[in-house]
Symmetry: C2
Subunit: 222 residues, 2 copies
C-alpha cells in the first residue's frame, strides 16, 4: 500500500486536472466525467481534486475555457471578412472536436476570462471594420448562432447515422420509417451519392451569411 517509489507522480494541479477532464470528455462524453473517474485517470483519489478546485462546476468552467482558448482569435485591424471566416471555421472545428462544450455553453458556464477576451476580440474587429454598433451585434449574434447550431446538427446527425446500438433492427426500422417520409429519404440518398460533407455544408452557409453582412455594411442603417 506504500506509494510506488519509482513513480514520483507529480503533484496535482488545476491545469493537470482540467487537461485530464477534457480528455475524458473527448473520449467518453460528459456523462463519463465523474470525480472518481477523474481521480483514477490522474492516479489520485477523487477527493484529492477538491483541494485544487471548489466543485465540479469549476472544472466544467475551466474545461470550457480551455476549449475556447483553442479558437483562432481575430486581430483588431484585420480584414473583417477574412477574420470572421477564419474564426468561424476554427470555432466549428474546435467545437466539433469537443462536442460536449456546446452543452456547457448552454448551462451558462461561459463567463471566464478566455471567453470574454475571445468575444471582445470579435467585437473589436467588427467595430474597426466600420460596422455601426447595431450591426456589430447583428453580425456577432448571427455568426455565433450559426456556428453553434451547425455543430449541434453535426452531433445529432452523427448519432442518427451510427444507429441506436442495435445494428440488427436497423434496416427494418429504416425501411418502415422512410416510406412515410419521402423527402427525407430523398435527401439521405442525395447525401450518400454526392458525398455530402459537413465542411462543405458549413462553408456554404458561412459565405452566404458573410455576403449578407457585407451588403448590409454598405447600406445606411435601416
Amino acid at each position: 500500500m506504500t506509494p510506488k517509489a519509482n513513480t514520483p507522480r507529480q503533484p496535482l494541479t488545476k491545469e493537470r486536472i482540467l487537461q485530464a477532464a477534457v480528455e475524458v470528455a473527448d473520449q467518453d462524453g460528459l456523462g463519463a466525467l465523474t470525480m472518481r473517474r477523474l481521480g483514477t485517470e490522474l492516479g489520485f483519489e477523487a477527493m484529492a481534486i477538491y483541494k485544487h478546485v471548489a466543485n465540479k462546476e469549476e472544472i466544467l468552467e475551466g474545461m470550457l475555457e480551455l476549449v475556447v482558448g483553442q479558437i483562432e482569435i481575430p486581430e483588431e485591424g484585420a480584414d473583417w471578412r477574412d477574420a470572421m471566416r477564419r474564426r468561424a471555421v476554427s470555432a466549428r472545428k474546435v467545437f466539433s472536436r469537443h462536442s460536449w462544450a456546446i452543452a456547457l455553453q448552454e448551462a451558462g458556464t461561459a463567463t471566464g476570462s478566455t471567453t470574454l477576451r475571445y468575444r471582445n476580440a470579435i467585437l473589436g474587429n467588427l467595430r474597426s471594420a466600420g460596422f455601426p454598433m447595431e450591426y456589430v451585434a447583428h453580425a456577432f449574434s448571427l455568426l455565433d448562432s450559426y456556428v453553434y447550431g451547425q455543430v449541434i446538427q453535426e452531433i445529432s446527425l452523427s448519432f442518427d447515422t451510427s444507429g441506436e446500438t442495435t445494428g440488427g433492427a436497423r434496416s427494418t426500422l429504416e425501411q418502415t420509417t422512410m416510406d412515410d417520409y419521402p423527402h427525407l429519404a430523398a435527401m439521405y440518398e442525395h447525401a450518400l451519392t454526392h458525398d455530402y460533407s459537413f465542411d462543405g455544408e458549413f462553408e456554404f452557409g458561412l459565405d452566404l451569411i458573410l455576403d449578407g453582412l457585407e451588403r448590409h455594411r454598405a447600406k445606411p442603417p435601416s
Copy 2:
C-alpha cells in the same frame, strides 16, 4: 394508508407522464426532472411510471416529440419563403419556451415520428419551390442551425444577465471585468440603451439568410 376515496386519481398514462415531465422541465429545468419528482407531481410512486415507459430515456424522447409537435409545420405548396420564415419563428418561440429541448436534440434523441414528419415537411416545401436537392440540403441545414444556435445564445445570455446567484458581488465583478473588455462593455451598453430584443435580433438574421437563399435559388447550381 388507504388511498383517499375522494380523489379517484386517474390511472397513469404515457400522455399524462409526458405532460407532467414537460411541466417540470419547463419550471425547474431538466436537472430537476427525476423519477421521484415526476412521481410526486403525478401523485404516484416513482416506480409506478415504469409500467408505462421502459426507462427515463423514453420519457425524454417523448418530451422532445411533444415539443417538436408544437412547431408550425409548412405545407407542401406554400410559398417557400413565407413558410420557412413562419416555421423558423415558430421553432424559435417553441424552443425558447422549452429550452431544455435543445440539450435533448444534442443527445441524439430526435428520431420520433413527429420529428421525422416535421423535417419531411420542410424538405417537401423547399423541393416543391423548385430548389435543387443540393440547395434543399443547404437551406435546411442553414435555417435549422440558425434557429438552434440562436436559442442557445438566448439561454446562455439569460444566465449571464441574471447574475450568478450572488447579487451582491455583481457590480464589483462587472466593473473589474469590463475594463479589460471595452468592446464587450460597449455592446452591453448599446443593448441597454437601445432596448435590444432577441426577437429583433433573430428576425434580422433570418431575413438575411432568406435573402441569401433566394438569390442562390435564381442562380445556376455552382
